[in-house]
């Protein structure tokens, strides 16, 4: 699954997700990819979030909505990402998932549980894409 957030030169934010879901799923099963607030969420006034992992579990907690609302309340991206992941892990200790958070100033961070996660960043002060590794 790819979840992406873009902040353009005017500070406008957009997010998106695309996935073909879980392998050998029961026909008709939909993961968290198309669920607003789960796989991704963005608000020009605050920032954005992208998520990936076990969609059957994650969609029950809307982690990206949680990340954006935590940042709206003043949390920095790292704490907001960690908080959203820990809320799920508290109920499902075996769950596997990750989020990245980015605020409207462009500060970004990631958090994960059950696997090592990587996310990619490109901004105008970089020559090319940089990949950041996040450990559980």
């Amino acid at each position: 699954t790819i979840s992406m957030a873009v902040i353009d030169k005017m500070g406008h934010i957009a997010v998106g997700t695309s996935t073909n879901g879980a392998t050998f799923k029961i026909p008709g099963r939909v993961g968290d990819g198309p669920i607003p607030g789960s796989s991704s969420y963005g608000d020009d006034e605050v920032g954005a979030c992208g998520a990936t992992g076990d969609g059957d579990i994650m969609m029950r907690f809307l982690p990206c909505y949680q990340v954006v609302e935590s940042m709206r309340q003043g949390m920095d991206p790292r704490d907001a990402a960690t908080d959203a992941i820990s809320r799920i892990a508290r109920k499902y200790p075996d769950f596997i998932g990750a989020v990245f958070a980015v605020n409207k100033e462009g500060v970004h961070a990631g958090a994960c549980h059950g696997w090592t996660f990587q996310y990619s960043v490109r901004n105008s002060s970089m020559q090319d894409v940089e990949v950041i590794t996040v450990y559980p």
């Binding site: 699954t1 790819i2 992406m4 957030a5 873009v6 902040i7 353009d8 030169k9 005017m10 500070g11 406008h12 934010i13 957009a14 997010v15 998106g16 997700t17 695309s18 996935t19 073909n20 879901g21 879980a22 392998t23 050998f24 799923k25 029961i26 026909p27 008709g28 099963r29 939909v30 993961g31 968290d32 990819g33 198309p34 669920i35 607003p36 796989s39 608000d43 020009d44 990936t52 992992g53 076990d54 059957d56 596997i96 990245f100 980015v102 409207k104 100033e105 462009g106 970004h108 059950g114 696997w115 996310y119 990619s120 960043v121 490109r122 901004n123 105008s124 002060s125 894409v129 990949v131």
Partner: protein, 244 residues
């Protein structure tokens, strides 16, 4: 008198200018020093580059939405990790279906498609939902019909030789792993029938021998003292190449 008022005016202009540049700097810091900015799950470099091209080049002062669609579409075309786009993650029938979403953080508009069949452009379809309907989410074959009616190519088979081969091997492996629970038969392919949990004999704990393990996967089911614990045919597999 005249000299002092001129000096006063210059002073005022300087302050005014500093104030503007401060705001400009501050404004620029807020709006543009590090921007544009693209962030994406996983090391999907080509997808980030595709989004960057749209959002950063002079001629394409593309909106953030256009950049997100370009980036995610690149991953659909490249079939990133086999978890994006056509040709991956077959369901139990061997079919690939797509889920996608796009959101405009300025207007809070969202378009999404779920379990879409026979159309390979997931996030483009989602954008069409956002731009040409008042809805947020369309699903299944109706989403397919909407996307094709709005001009996307289809219907087309979303499977690939790789996804079909993967599915064939899975069937030869007694359809393990799978996402069923509290059904019989366990450890085999369906059709499945629900276990009536209310009528299950309660003698101490529900003892089930482990049918066998394969590749770290626990097949069969497991000893459970808690009847309400679902009897899983096995633990589901979530990893880098199989997830949402």
């Amino acid at each position: 008198m005249r000299r002092s008022s001129v000096r006063l005016l210059i002073g005022f202009l300087l302050i005014r200018f500093n104030w503007c540049s401060a705001v400009g700097d501050k404004g620029a810091g807020k709006v543009g020093v590090a921007f544009p900015l693209v962030v994406s799950t996983w090391p999907f470099r080509e997808a980030v580059r595709a989004a960057w091209k749209v959002v950063s080049t002079g001629e394409g002062w593309g909106s953030a939405v256009d950049a997100v669609v370009a980036g995610c579409s690149a991953c659909e075309d490249l079939r990133c990790d086999g978890t994006v786009g056509p040709g991956g993650s077959p369901d139990e029938n061997g079919e690939t279906t797509l889920d996608a979403l796009v959101m405009n953080g300025a207007t809070m508009e969202i378009g999404a498609v779920a379990a879409m069949r026979y159309v390979k452009d997931g996030i483009k379809a989602a954008k069409l939902v956002m731009e040409h309907s008042e809805h947020t989410l369309l699903v299944g074959e109706k989403a397919t019909a909407f996307a094709i009616s709005m001009g996307l190519p289809g219907p087309t088979n979303l499977s690939s030789p790789e996804s079909i081969e993967k599915w064939e091997k899975w069937k030869q492996n007694h359809c393990q792993p799978n996402f069923w629970k509290n059904v019989v038969p366990v450890g085999k392919c369906g059709p499945y029938h629900p276990i009536n949990l209310a009528s299950v004999e309660v003698e101490g704990s529900v003892k089930n021998e482990v049918v066998g393990s394969q590749g770290g996967l626990c097949q069969g089911y497991y000893e459970s003292d808690n009847l309400l614990e679902p009897i899983k045919s096995n633990l589901k597999v979530v990893n880098r190449h199989n997830h949402d």
